[in-house]
Amino acid sequence: MDKFTGKVWVLGDDIDTDIIIPTEYLALKTVDDMKKYAFSPLRPELAAQIGDGDIIVAGKNFGCGSSREQAPEIIKHLNVRCVIAKSFARIFFRNSINNGLLLIENSEIPDAVKEGDTIDVIMNDKIVFNGREYPIQPLPDNLMEILNAGGLVKAMQKRNGII
């Protein structure tokens, strides 16, 4: 069973796409150029602090707003292992899966953890923190196929070479 451990960074409700990547940086040439500005309207220092394999934990409606796909791409390029939130905005949800960024919906974890805590995630099963287990809904098979391939384009190449 796929399992991982990560340190959490805690954000609030309604983290919108303009906070994840403000409009003024969208014209930069690559996502790697943009990523140091991630979350900058809210916490300008955060992008530099996030380490490989860390986990972002947030409240409800994470990723609301624009359809800009740079938002999940940047989080992926910061090497964030997954985002756990009480809920996700739908366009952001699709874009994340399509870019191979794992999202987990859980209503309790965001209130249970504080920044710097470490949590264990057992894929499609549960989150473990402080000895307590928080069940998670498994993702449907078609979405897991996309995630495991590293995104929609790669999944299609693997499946039948259609793209």
Partner: protein, 414 residues
């Protein structure tokens, strides 16, 4: 079992007789629209990542340059060049400098019953004409462009029964902000907002656009107003097909039903930094403004310009305020010229821009600085949306924006 409007549209696009919420269906798309916010990323993937790049049906594709037009720096000029050349090489419909993408789709292409993907979150606007439009990212767009298809999960529907008429001085913008304030910024997440009842039918198709356009600000997958003879008339006048005017069945299942009496709606504003932080205009207090914006896919149509001009006529914009006006399309602009509205704006001291997204998305025009306050008919008021991260954006109707531009502070009448 009866179906909702959205379910009927998805069933048609999936080629099946019935669909139910929660099912995943492969669907054929009627149009695919992409603008200069992300089209260059789609083209890069198309050129660099695909083994067999091809376009399923070029006639379904529409590329529109509206976010940074005309280009304001070499980076956006390069984005536009890439888009222009790709469109030309592949025979794709291409619009540049003609207006905001959703307004162009409304004026030129959308038909009732269609399923349309747009690489822009406000694609949900097309429900004004009884279509299902929804925003996607560029990877979803690429997949649909190459295969002509995509997948959708059938959403549940929230039904909004509207009755009565809006009072004078109250606008569809006030209604939709009130609804978003009530249900919250994720109150319709993954769901469809369906508007029906005689109150909905009292609204013009332009008014309906305002409602559907902001559905995404409540998290909705789309907003749809039950189409009627007003839609049929609009579609026929534009030489399009109105054969698929779907309405929900009597026994259709709604997740929740809301009732709104339009005569009870009051002017409201959304406070920074959340679209659902909605308060009555009378409670806003003393808020001085630096800039006012009239335009965007939400409120840049002729009705909005008429309202603004009627308030502004014979008055002057406050000396401490920049008042920026951007018609939603060149058709709107020409009509406003014809009606003498542009004269009124310019004589009052407003800046009239070309038809584009302008101040709404905080990039190419009227960007606001540190600590500045904007009152806007734009779509969003997120932190830093219109410029500096410490600037503030209030959202309100065209009337509220115009009155505020004259008074130099947020107000409803002058």
């Amino acid at each position: 079992m009866g179906m909702t409007i959205a379910e009927k549209i998805i069933a048609r696009a999936a080629g099946v007789s019935e669909v139910k919420p929660g099912q995943i269906h492969t669907v054929e798309l009627d149009y695919l629209m992409s603008n200069d916010g992300t089209t260059h990323l789609t083209i890069d993937m198309y050129n660099n990542k695909l083994k067999n790049p091809r376009i399923a049906d070029k006639d379904k594709l529409v590329f529109i340059v509206d976010h940074n037009v005309p280009a304001e720096n070499p980076k956006t000029a390069a984005v536009h060049k890439k888009m222009r050349e790709f469109a030309k090489a592949n025979g794709i419909k291409f619009f540049e400098g003609k207006g905001v993408c959703h307004q162009i789709m409304f004026e030129e292409f959308v038909e009732p019953g269609q399923l349309i993907f747009g690489a822009d979150s406000h694609t949900c606007s097309y429900g004004a004409l009884g279509a299902f439009g929804t925003g996607v990212g560029c990877t979803d767009f690429l997949y649909a462009m190459v295969t002509g298809k995509s997948w959708v999960m059938v959403p549940e529907t929230l039904r909004f029964n509207l009755k009565g008429k809006l009072r004078e001085g109250v606008y569809p913008r006030d209604l939709i902000l009130t609804i978003i304030g009530d249900i919250g910024a994720n109150g319709a997440n993954y769901k469809v907002m369906e508007f029906a009842g005689e109150g909905a039918h009292n609204l013009s198709v332009n008014d309906r656009f305002v409602l559907c356009n902001l559905a995404v600000e409540a998290g909705a997958k789309t907003g749809i107003v039950e189409p009627d003879e007003k839609v049929e008339q609009f579609i026929k006048e534009h030489g399009r097909n109105a054969d698929n005017m779907y309405v929900s069945d009597e026994d259709a299942k709604f997740l929740k039903v809301y009732e709104y009496d339009l005569s009870k709606i009051e002017p409201v504003v959304a406070r920074p930094d959340f679209v659902d932080d909605v308060i009555s205009l009378s409670e806003v207090g003393d808020v001085k403004i630096d800039e006012a914006f009239l335009g965007s896919c939400n409120n840049g149509r002729i009705d909005d310009l008429r309202v603004a001009a009627s308030i502004l006529k014979g008055k002057k914009v406050h000396p401490d305020v920049r008042f920026i006006v951007a018609p939603a399309s060149n058709n709107v602009y020409l009509q406003a010229l014809d009606e003498g509205l542009i004269d009124i704006f310019m004589e009052a001291g407003a800046m009239v821009m070309n038809a584009n997204c302008s101040v709404c998305w905080g990039s190419c025009q009227g960007v606001i600085g540190d600590g500045e306050v904007l009152i806007s008919t734009g779509t969003r008021n997120f932190k830093g949306r219109a410029g500096h991260k410490n600037s503030k954006v209030y959202l309100g109707s065209a009337a509220t924006v115009t009155a505020s531009a004259i008074a130099g502070k947020i107000c409803g009448t002058v």
